[in-house]
Amino acid sequence: MEFITMIINGLSIGGTYAMIALGYTMVYGIAKMLNFAHGDIIMVGGYTIVLFFPISPILGIIASVIFCVTVGIVVEKTAYKPLRGASPLAVLITAIGVSKLLQSAAQIFIGSESKGVTVNLGEIRMGEIKINVLTLITIACSAAVMVALTLFVKYTKTGRAMVAVSEDRGAAQLMGINVNFIIMITFIIGSALAAVAGVFLVFKIQDVGTTFGAMPGIKAFAAAVIGGIGSIPGAMVGGLVLGFIEAVCGMVPALSPYTDAIEFAILIIVLLVKPTGFLGKKRREKV
């Protein structure tokens, strides 16, 4: 019985991490940058759902996605696009700056007190097991999002162009592919997924502060690296790996205080054994 509860918790936590990790990994693969501010998009989505929740939860989810996507587009256009071709260090420092900017903006406009919502969708009973309905919805949503994204990347022309750009930006341009447009699409998808993840995190934690996105952001980044940064299935696998570690630790009282330490220890071990992550490719050396 405990085993089934653990599986369900693992899928739910892992699905949330995977949705965030997808944003990191796609932006890394296509724009060749670490979007340090990605975690703060989760915070933006979290605040938005808190503000809109009393009006309508559904409206709140839609507003979160729209607002996060808008912030993602503005950040890409104003902060990252002008640095296309600049040194990776300059881009990384800019991304850290964007992260701080978003946190400060939240503090100015919303205040430093944390805000919360109360969501209780009840439980369903299956024999002796009680399962939280919200947990099931989280699993269903993240699974649907991941299937949709996989189909999009695999079967649409834009999705194939994303793979082409991630592999060889110059050759993609020779095909007439507008690289800036593809990068923009990537930021839109990444921000939308972060919004959805932010919403579920708020429903679970029921409390949002300005650094709300930091921990899940770092965990999801670790997930992306464990799975192989740049790889879409890798982000999903990495997210689930961390989700299951958390689920197991959560059920074993002796381990639960060390959950974060165990997760990052696993990250280090994976990097030592396989520096490219589970599904990562060796970077082809360009002449």
């Binding site: 022309k157 194939r160 162009a161 793979v163 082409a164 592999e167 060889d168 110059g170 050759a171 993609a172 341009q173 020779l174 095909m175 007439g176 592919i177 507008n178 690289v179 002449v287």
Partner: protein, 236 residues
């Protein structure tokens, strides 16, 4: 009027000047070759034309329109494309998807269908392997795919950067055959080659590049007969 006109081009990599004041043109319907040793600046010239590298001075005109400063993907839409040095096919995409990327900017579905048929007829190997991931192809097959992919955009001007590099003599002949075939269909060709013999033989005109400068130019036949060329590039 020339289809492509390069005027007083300078290109720098940092402080190193790779291209020094070169000017040349390609007229509609011609095959023009740039020959030169390794490091002469051929690839730099090709990439500058299509906007992947930004020249420090000079102008490039395509069909009378100044194109330097325009982003590459827009230049491609004007009707030129390039088979880059080292093929640079998308190894994670299938053969079919690589060809779809070649037709990325096209909206004429029927025309694209027809071009798929033509390309599969021309390269039966590509049809046999159309659902295979392109990274698993042999070097020769990859070159065929790179050429097929470029042709899928139906370019008016097709540029090829050392398409025979690393291929067996039999495949080299096939590559030159295909270039001739597309030329006969009305495509203008700008070719970069170290294989001076074969490229000069099919060229209307050619330019010789040395250390970033054009040092010689003439018709293909003239250069083939020239003593200097024989010494430097034809191993004679």
């Amino acid at each position: 009027m020339a289809l492509l006109e390069v005027k007083n081009l300078d290109v720098h990599y940092g402080v190193i000047q790779a291209i020094k004041d070169i000017s040349f043109e390609v007229n509609e319907g011609e095959i023009v070759t740039l020959i030169g040793a390794n490091g002469a600046g051929k690839t730099t010239t090709m990439q500058s034309i299509i906007g992947l590298i930004h020249p420090t001075r000079g102008e490039i005109y395509y069909d009378g329109q100044k194109i330097n400063g325009i982003p590459s993907h827009k230049i491609v839409k004007l009707g030129m494309t390039q088979v880059p040095e080292g093929r640079r096919i998308f190894s994670e995409l299938t053969v079919y998807e690589n060809l779809v990327m070649g037709a990325y900017t096209r909206k004429d579905k029927d025309g694209v269908e027809k071009d798929f048929k033509d390309i599969y007829e021309l390269f039966p190997r590509l049809e046999e392997r159309k659902n295979q991931v392109a990274g698993t192809l042999s070097g020769g097959e990859q070159q065929m795919l790179a050429m097929g992919r470029a042709i899928m955009s139906r370019p008016k001007l097709l540029m090829l950067d050392e398409p025979s590099m690393g291929l067996s003599p039999l495949l080299v002949d096939q590559v030159f055959d295909i270039i001739k075939r597309f030329h006969e269909k009305g495509t203008t060709i700008l070719l970069v080659e170290q294989n001076a013999n074969k490229s000069l033989a099919i060229s209307d005109r050619a330019y010789v590049l040395e250390n970033g400068r054009i040092v010689l130019s003439g018709t293909g036949a003239e250069l083939l007969a020239s003593e200097e060329i024989k010494k430097a590039y034809l191993g004679g």
